[in-house]
Symmetry: C2
Subunit: 231 residues, 2 copies
DNA sequence: GAGTGGTCTAGACCACCAA
DNA sequence: TGGTGGTCTAGACCACTCC
């Protein structure tokens, strides 16, 4: 009694028990009730703490089987992908946007394979994001005119497709993937870098009720890094 | 009453309210109590659901200020970085491991800048991970002999440093970063790819009580992709 | 100062699954 | 089938911050 505690402190206390070596990978932890007694708190508080540790991949919980320290702790990295404008401005640069091209077009196979085969013609929007007038990201976006028909009426020369979509098209699922690609001539010229330069590429697809809204492939300027939130 | 519901269903129901357009970005949601009444559940259940939605960056909550739909929904990607052996085997390949070099050495500036300036000599372990005898990942690892002095006594020719560390050195914090780099001659030969090839590189540092344990830089074979868990 | 979210607790019941 | 985690609830109190 009389301990000042919220569930995060309880979580950290349990974490410390593990890290300190009192419980090693594969070991079983006491029942929630006993942990609660030891730390002078209610079982629900322990439950909330354990739920968080399980979500982070540190422990494994099974009904009747109890709680144990994972043998193969999966590292879970949390990445925050902010709006590009905000990202540029938060780094102290002036944000710029430059439309390259908008066209109504049948998507290539690579796009269809991500979104599903039966797609009507889509809207393709290519644009450049700038930081202090330097190329920062090249955006190659496909918008599904079935879920977002009103995209046809938007003028993307001054509003970025991303900002319009955020304000007007809610989604209920996102897929992301990250990989490396050589710039090539086309992107090299736009990003002001040699064609053999390695670029970090992000692909993001958003969905509403299992139907795709938009697929965007973002090629970042050389040196770009994604940094995970420490867990 | 009589609804079958857990907090995840309540969360999805609230999510649906937002996605359906009933509440738009910037709008204020009703108080937890009112949502609870509308969905026939207790306030704590709504609270748990809201906490999850806030964690995902969809809503913003402030005491007295109420709950509102975020104007700038941050995309949060969750990545799972499994143990390399497990990853290779789960793709149906045979896992192989090949030690390249172990040496006790003073780390270069690039390493010191990640870990802090005042470091004793460290142990550097370089190794190759194979999938069906093909190069899969090249690992360049630095182990801090202050937090892991017993690493000196380990034979890394058959046990990978990663597996030893997981079993013997708990950590309480992780940093990760992802970027693209050209292979270069050295890595090109080891990964069996031209030197100009773009590679996805992962860097991971683990810490115990603010002191570094190990920094590992993993260069993945061409075509490697990181795929996020759908949110 | 008052209204909102954040958390704790005790007790209850359910769901799963190892013994 | 018994023991463990998973969840819900009502009520209480605290912490923050807008008015």
């Amino acid at each position: 009694m009389s301990e000042r505690s919220n569930w995060r402190e309880i979580r950290d206390e349990i974490h410390r028990m593990i890290v300190s070596g009192r419980f090693r990978p594969g070991d079983k932890l006491p029942r929630d009730v006993d942990i609660a007694a030891e730390l002078h708190c209610g079982r629900s508080t322990v439950q909330r703490a354990m739920q968080d540790l399980a979500e982070r991949g540190l422990i494994e919980r099974r009904r009747k089987g109890g709680t144990s320290v994972r043998l193969d702790p999966v590292t879970r990295a949390k990445l925050e992908i902010p709006d590009t404008r905000k990202e540029v401005e938060s780094r102290g640069f002036r944000y710029g946007y430059q439309l390259i091209d908008v066209e109504r077009k049948d998507p290539p196979e690579t796009v269809k394979s991500r979104l599903g085969r039966d797609l009507a013609p889509m809207l393709r929007v290519q644009a450049l994001h700038l930081a202090n007038a330097n190329a920062y990201m090249l955006e190659d976006r496909w918008i599904n005119l079935e879920t977002a028909p009103d995209a046809l009426e938007v003028d993307f020369s001054h509003t970025s497709a991303n900002e319009w979509l955020i304000a007007n098209k809610s989604y209920d699922a996102v897929d992301m993937r990250f990989y490396a690609e050589n710039a090539g001539r086309w992107r090299g010229e736009l990003l002001n870098t040699p064609p053999e330069m390695a670029l970090l590429v992000l692909e993001r697809t958003t969905w509403i009720e299992k139907r795709p809204i938009t697929l965007v492939k973002v090629s970042t300027a050389p040196g770009y890094q994604l940094i995970s939130h420490s867990g």
